[in-house]
Symmetry: C2
Subunit: 404 residues, 2 copies
Amino acid sequence: MAPRTWILDFGRILMENGTGSSGRTLLVIGASQHDAAAYHLSGFLAPDPMICLRAKDRSYLAVSSMEYGRAKKQARADEVLSFDELGVVDLAKKLKSGGRALAAAAAGLLSQVGAKDSPVAVPPDLGILYADELRARGLTVTPEAKLFADLRRSKTEEEVSYIGETQRAVEAACAHAVEILKESEAGGDGTLRWRGEVLTSETLRAEIDAELLRRGCAADGTITAGGPQAADPHDEGHGPLRAGESIIVDIFPASKESRYYADMTRTFVKGEPSGELQRMYDAVLESQLAALAMIRPGINGREIHARVSEILHEKGYKTLQHDQKPGEPLQEGFIHGTGHGVGLEIHEAPRVSTADETLVPGDVITIEPGLYDPKIGGIRIEDLVVVTEDGSRNLTDFPKEFRL
Amino acid sequence: MAPRTWILDFGRILMENGTGSSGRTLLVIGASQHDAAAYHLSGFLAPDPMICLRAKDRSYLAVSSMEYGRAKKQARADEVLSFDELGVVDLAKKLKSGGRALAAAAAGLLSQVGAKDSPVAVPPDLGILYADELRARGLTVTPEAKLFADLRRSKTEEEVSYIGETQRAVEAACAHAVEILKESEAGGDGTLRWRGEVLTSETLRAEIDAELLRRGCAADGTITAGGPQAADPHDEGHGPLRAGESIIVDIFPASKESRYYADMTRTFVKGEPSGELQRMYDAVLESQLAALAMIRPGINGREIHARVSEILHEKGYKTLQHDQKPGEPLQEGFIHGTGHGVGLEIHEAPRVSTADETLVPGDVITIEPGLYDPKIGGIRIEDLVVVTEDGSRNLTDFPKEFRL
């Protein structure tokens, strides 16, 4: 895996972000293959936990002996150490715990570099086992959600280009899905058939995922839900797809190489939708376009979300904002947020919802309002947008075509 | 996603395991799509954090309003609640943090069910933000690595069958890789060619991953490393593959449906290997077969690992056990553990290494010794084995064929 030179130019990212992280001691203990903070800080992909430290403007990465050679070549840290050097194996024997040993080794490293007396900022998901061990060894450890989220919010140009590459794969896969739907034909009972077989959610999903994989992207949870199944925003969909029912296609893979996600949703119908379904689609589209037009630095995500809720409410649909009753989860209408950040994680800061989040240049966010009716189905339309210095740029290049 | 009825029969699992978890209050806060503990406890797959609680022999699952309908249908908890009922949204506004709000809601739920006065066992990777909030609200929260690991160690028959299904996909994908290697031909410079193109690690990996995907499995990190690249156990491999060099094929996907992993490694060579490479292969094979023969309930993983190290040491190779010098990461020979548990995570308890871990029936472990030489390459041979009441059963059905 080629070194991500730009991603780990720590100093530059911190200066560009101008966040509260300059001068702070940052510590992450996690496996970068599953831990975005660890990957973002180290640029080194591995399946087992590593120690990522930034203290006094130097960056350190400690890995197992087995990973050491590769880390020296690939990681962008001022100093790469092995667990062996930090005495992890002996600590593990003494503490009878590999996890505690890692944290103890991290504490030792902090001491070694003269940073044990200042508070250490950690991601909010640092494991309790690590946290307890660090604190037991006298360190002041504070979970700093905003600090770590901000580090990843303002995407560099290169990061946006990686997201763009994943987005191209999403669009190619969706185009393939559209081809399949266009080729399919409705049988007497409305069930769609494609190439001699019933067209199921599973088949459509498999075709999408295979197309993504051909382009080096891995998807877990591609949604191809039709009819009432689409009324549950996270239902992947199962069984035959039918004419006249809306089909939500939501594709959100990550590139296996760059690790960056992209995210797009389109809703289709084969044949004639009911008037009600068409009205739902038109309402969602109108609210989505209105939201897209609002995106610029300085605007608050909650303003965008409020506008979407307002539009849908005015058109007679239920929304969380207007119709949520305490103790009764709302099951129809506009029942989720308007969007979320996308990067090394599929859901990251900032949220575009009732949350107080002012957008900044470099934010990459989805805009994905939807309407859901357990009796007839769901509609969702989603684009991926980067906030620019003076507005925004839609990274999504795919038509919003309902009837196929 | 069909309910996993057996996996969440909490009482049965706990009685079968006879672990220290019966009667204990267990709490997990995490997104089950990425958090094996949350998935194991709830049987409900979702990409956003949920609260899984077991107290006084009842199980509770709390999810967002959006997931609530699906959770009621799919999860196996005695009680499914929505965040809305627990006041999460209001808490989030008050605390200015969704994460703290979740933990606060969990504390409230524990209070509600009369379990706030007993210590709460949490997984060692429970986020520090959650832990601090729970403790600030008066709860005694203890990370219990062994308790949660034990819950997942003794696999039920159904779990083993899911692992077996993933294993079948692994074998089919490896068979396809073998076909490709057999079809390939060496050019004048030793570079392999397949279907008119240079055969690269990337091509072989893409073919394997596509085959896995056709069988419903997703792979992240399939290794197809040749020559000196294979001397780094985690190097995925890049560029042309060559005759005469060992090619390590390590396939470890998870089923998208069941979420269970399988894991297998075979090492191949096209054409004539050097005498040295053949000797390395023979040594690894001998140590692997010896290790497989040792597996039974009651044996300690470290005995198996010691035997493997002994065999390889006697044959003249370096091992961590015999040759690790403090401060000098060993880069050649047998430079990792002998194996690890496999289940809802690719690396889980028990480890088969220097760690003190007595094997029990239901443990599913890999046995994967290897030898690595930065000058000439690597050899690794890996099977997946379930420990049975009186011995073991190898779940891997694939020949150990070096020369193709």
